[in-house]
């Protein structure tokens, strides 16, 4: 279809998200009296869904895939649409749709929810731009486009101390890591003289091979790569830049936590996957003694272990989910850690990480949206406060049980396959130790995930009146939670096309 349409149509999903955000902002500004929470939510959900539809259509029709002539580059190669970009855009659009639908009920008494919708869509636009970025400059701009609305979203409940504090912490650490990231880009530019990912890779290869005659620049390039790695660690909430995540996720309104921990994390990973394979290929980096693979391996191991152990000792469900989301960042990091120079199994392991992020997008978003529902009811935050909720809200509690078991990687749910493929990919590529650490962590995680299920279903409420808080049935929130649960279950039988698309997309990068 691309052959007949102008190439810029390949950016349709990005444009749809962006224009929806602009339209919302426009209505909010020009006709503030006509806006309503419902119409805003509907418009933003439609925008996100149409972006999703466009993405799925592109993937199905093979836009940018190797079968139909390869990736489409635009704007002097600054932007590149390939299957990987579309795959991630699908994650962003799905999460965004779920979040805006849920937000409709969550912000039902907020004086001005319109800003929420436009900010969320702008952040989503930034994410999808990140997915197509083919130049370090675009990567940075898109990253900021994600970050700036995110800071505001975290602090969206400006009367709420926790929310504002979380926003400030997020902003400070975010600003620092942006600076580091940008400095890293400038060092890489200094060493290679280009910002386009492919060109950087070429010059890096020359440096490594010594044909460039300037191998002294290896150090500069290496330092730059390490700094870029730091920026990635911040965005994905990985060690050592994970400190903001529990604070931000806990303080932020729950739909925002869902958005950040699912979509924004995936955005960090698309940077990692693309930049580290296209600009700093494994082979060239290793022969230049810049072993970022090992660095990612250590980060992955530390991140998943730390996330899991910290999650196990939490008393508040939302904070537990925050740490669990750090743990899952560790799993997904295996996708850039278990890579080898010869590259035979690289596509499989990175593809598995992408598939895991897609599944995670549904199960983690769903879990946070259940927390949003609990916040909407006002039942409290700790495990004890969740006791016996299943008696009053069996459907939502069942959905939550699905998310928890799937996050733990139990076989009847999609989380099992995505973790399994990830660990098997790592083993096939010779990284048995990473898979072993991942598997052990996965077992540990069952402990704290099942605590939620135990509280919901087995424990009796603290008092007779404890369940009276559940006096409303927020339809949209329910719809979002149930839809996420259904997707989590259906992705198990439907895992074939997902993993095939992801593997093909990832293999195209090597």
């Amino acid at each position: 279809m691309v052959s007949t349409l102008p190439q810029v149509t390949a950016l349709l999903p990005v444009l749809l998200l962006g224009f929806t955000g602009l339209a919302l902002l426009l209505v909010d500004t020009l006709a503030p009296d006509t806006r309503s929470n419902t119409s805003m939510a509907v418009v933003s959900a439609l925008g996100a869904l149409s972006a999703l539809a466009a993405t799925v259509w592109f993937v199905a029709s093979g836009t940018g895939s190797a079968d139909t002539g390869g990736a489409i580059t635009l704007l002097a190669e600054a932007v590149k649409v390939d299957t990987m970009a579309l795959f991630f855009t699908a994650i962003f659009a799905s999460v965004t749709s779920l979040v805006v639908v849920a937000a409709h009920d969550y912000f039902h008494d907020h004086p001005n929810p319109a800003t929420f919708y436009s900010l969320t869509l702008f952040a989503a636009t930034g994410m999808s731009l990140l997915a197509v970025a083919n130049s370090l400059a675009v990567v940075f701009v898109a990253l900021e486009m994600v970050s700036l609305p995110s800071y505001v979203l975290v602090a969206f409940l400006k009367q709420n101390r926790g929310s504002v504090e979380a926003g400030l912490k997020y902003f400070l650490i975010g600003a620092l890591s942006s600076a580091i990231f940008l400095f890293g880009i400038s060092l890489v530019y200094a060493a290679t003289g280009s910002l386009i990912l492919g060109d950087v890779a070429g010059i890096l290869g020359d440096i490594a091979a010594g044909t460039d005659g300037l191998d002294s620049r290896t150090g500069i390039a290496g330092l730059g790569i390490v700094m870029i790695l730091g920026g990635v660690a911040f965005k994905t909430a990985s060690v050592p830049f994970h400190f903001w995540a529990p604070e931000a996720y806990e303080g932020a309104p729950a739909p925002v936590s869902a958005f950040l921990s699912s979509a924004s994390k995936a955005a960090g990973f698309v940077v990692a996957f693309r930049v580290f394979t296209e600009a700093f290929p494994v082979g060239a980096s290793l022969s230049a003694d810049i072993n970022w693979v090992l660095a990612f391996g250590i980060l992955a191991a530390v991140t998943m272990t730390l996330g899991n152990f910290a999650a196990a000792v939490q008393e508040e469900v939302k904070r537990m989910l925050a740490y669990s989301s750090i743990g899952h960042a560790g799993y997904a990091l295996i996708g850039v850690a278990a890579l080898t120079a010869d590259g035979s199994g690289n596509g499989a392991v990175m593809g598995a990480a992408m598939a895991h992020l897609l599944v995670y997008g549904f199960m983690n978003t769903g879990a946070f949206l259940f927390v949003a529902m609990a916040e909407r009811w006002g039942v409290g935050r700790t495990f004890e406060d969740y006791a016996g909720l299943a008696k009053r809200a069996p459907v939502a509690s069942t959905a939550m049980a699905v998310f928890m078991f799937s996050l733990a990687g139990l076989p009847p749910f999609a989380g099992f396959f995505s973790k399994y493929f990830l660990f098997m990919g790592a083993i096939d590529n010779g990284f048995l130790w990473l898979a072993a650490i991942g598997a052990v962590n996965s077992v540990i995680s069952l402990y704290y995930y099942s605590r939620v299920v135990k509280a919901l279903f087995f424990d009796d409420p603290a008092s007779q009146t404890a369940l009276d808080a559940i006096d409303v049935r927020p339809t949209a929130l329910y719809a979002a939670v149930v839809f996420a649960a259904v997707a989590t279950v259906l992705l198990l039988p439907g895992f074939g096309p997902v993993i095939e698309t992801a593997e093909a997309a990832a293999s195209a990068l090597f």
């Binding site: 499989a348 299943a390 008696k391 069996p394 078991f405 139990l410 076989p411 009847p412 099992f416 399994y420 493929f421 098997m424 990919g425 083993i427 096939d428 048995l432 598997a439 077992v443 069952l446 099942s450 135990k454 279903f457 087995f458 424990d459 198990l492 039988p493 895992f495 074939g496 993993i499 095939e500």
Partner: protein, 510 residues
């Protein structure tokens, strides 16, 4: 497509019942659970398989559809029946409606969820016994745990939370061990298999397809895999010393759940042992014949001794299950036609008899609200029919001729007495036979003190005969036990046909 229809009907019924009102969930669930039973009778009547499904026999009702591909191996929806799995499918579909009937009296809250979960479990149990692809089988295998966890944890007795979590942790840890064991086999098989289909893997192992993996020799991998899988399944069966979860789970679980737990879930363990350990790795099994036979005999004797020491009727039946499962293991390890066939037959027989015992004890409990031996006496006076059937069931347990238990144990002893694959076979057989004496001892003494003599009850209730829908399933079960005892060939013919290839797989029997 009949197998698919069977499983799909069970899933759909679960969903329908889950959404139905509590008032008639029980009746609806019973009616719907008859559909799979009728379906399984149809499967039985048209059964045309021969040989063992794993060793290249003719598989009845076979379907194989590719699902996805992982690391160059395809995973498929691969189901079918042979002479070993068909009796277990019939057992499952037969027990579930009866268990549902027996739940009408004791289950008085959240009925729709209870019956929905029962049917959901049935669907997955059918999947376990029909799946012939490792992944498909594993998904069903694990999916059985989830409803069981909720059924014990929500509707159980006073210590239900402890029992549910213990059950979940034990069986999940066991599954992981088994999974790792099986995976190491597939890694060692390398390129000699192109799928996870169990027949293909069995064939490849038999043809010496195991290679060296990570420097470990094929023999050692096979042995490690055998041990890991054996331990994993041993928990499920359960074999002493991995049995401690079972009495807790049984005592806390409501009666209908105990019926399925003892009647079908324990058979998952012995079925999997037969399929994986004894069919895939027969030489490893026969190398370990003495230790395995020893723990089988220990399970028989020790389980019976434990039962002897119990005061709770349900605990008595639960421990005697441990004892009966010991016979099954003994029958499997001797690798003779009657041993393996008898063990499989005993799975069905024990499923019916233990189901009957749990159900009858449950009916007594419904009336007395106590199960302690010292708390009641002379129940025969007030509930003559129930007690009559209970006594008949107990005699079945002791191996009274013309009842199913006799046939099963007789086959096993015939097969094990002169087994060439097991050294000292007569000694092991004689020791195991001694277990029957203990069984008779504790069952007779327990019944003597509770059922006969002048009526007495610690707490004063008016007790009359149990309602029809409580007694009817008992009568049906007893009838089935007698039919199977009088004419064991209705199952034993096909079982023997499927067991023979397993027996021939051991080099001793060649």
């Amino acid at each position: 497509m009949i197998l698919e229809a069977l499983i799909a009907v069970a899933f759909a019924s679960a969903l329908v019942v889950m959404l139905s009102p509590n008032e008639w969930a029980g009746r609806l669930a019973f009616a719907l659970s008859l559909l799979p039973f009728v379906g399984s009778l149809y499967l039985w009547s048209g059964f045309d398989g021969s040989g063992n499904a794993l060793t290249g026999g003719d598989i009845a009702y076979q379907t194989q559809i590719e699902w996805l591909e992982v690391g160059g191996r395809s995973v498929s929806w691969f189901v079918g029946l042979d002479g070993i799995s068909l009796p277990l499918v019939v057992l499952t579909t037969f027990l579930v409606p009866l268990a549902i009937l027996s739940a009408w009296t004791p289950i008085d809250s959240r009925q729709s969820q209870f019956y929905g979960l029962m049917l959901f479990m049935e669907a997955n149990l059918l999947g376990v016994f029909t799946a012939l692809d490792f992944f498909l089988w594993f998904v069903f295998w694990e999916a059985v745990l989830v409803p069981m966890y909720f059924l014990i944890g929500v509707w159980g007795g006073p210590r239900r939370k402890y029992a549910a979590i213990k059950f979940f942790v034990y069986t999940n840890a066991a599954s992981l061990l088994m999974f790792i064991g099986f995976m190491s086999l597939t890694f060692a098989l390398g390129d000699s298999v192109s799928s996870f289909a169990l027949p293909e893997i069995t064939g490849a192992i038999a043809d010496g397809g195991l290679g060296t993996w990570f420097g470990i020799s094929p023999d050692r991998i096979a042995m490690v895999a055998f041990l890991a899988m054996f331990l994993g399944f041993a928990v499920k069966v359960p074999i002493v010393p991995f049995h401690t979860w079972l009495p807790d789970a049984h005592v806390e679980a409501p009666t209908p759940v105990s019926v399925l737990l003892a009647g079908v879930l324990l058979k998952m363990g012995t079925y999997a042992l037969l399929r994986f350990n004894f069919t895939m790795l027969p030489d490893q099994a026969s190398a370990l014949a003495i230790p395995i036979a020893a723990i089988a005999v220990i399970s028989v004797i020790y389980g019976a001794m434990l039962a002897l020491a119990q005061k709770d009727l349900k605990r008595i039946v639960a421990y005697s299950s441990v004892s009966s499962m010991g016979y099954v293991i003994l029958g499997l390890i001797v690798f003779t036609e009657y041993g393996v066939g008898g063990a499989t037959f005993q799975m069905v027989a024990h499923g019916l008899i233990s189901g009957l015992m749990f159900m009858a004890v449950g009916v007594v409990y419904n009336a007395t609200h106590t199960r302690m031996v010292g708390d009641m006496a002379g129940m025969a006076d007030r509930m003559p029919v129930t007690v009559g059937i209970l006594v008949a069931g107990a005699f079945g347990y002791m191996g009274l001729p013309l009842m199913a238990g006799f046939a099963g144990e007789f086959f096993i002893f015939v097969g094990s007495f002169a087994a060439p694959a097991l050294p000292y076979a007569p000694v092991f057989t004689a020791l195991a036979m001694f277990g029957i004496v203990i069984v008779a001892g504790y069952l007779l003494s327990a019944m003597q003190s509770t059922l006969f003599g002048p009526f007495e009850l610690a707490t004063d209730y008016e007790i009359g005969p149990a309602p029809f829908h409580d007694v009817a399933p008992l009568a049906v079960l007893l009838a089935a036990i007698i039919v199977l005892g009088v004419a064991p060939d209705i199952f034993f013919e096909m079982i023997r046909d499927a067991a023979l290839p397993v027996v021939e797989g051991v080099s001793v029997n060649g």
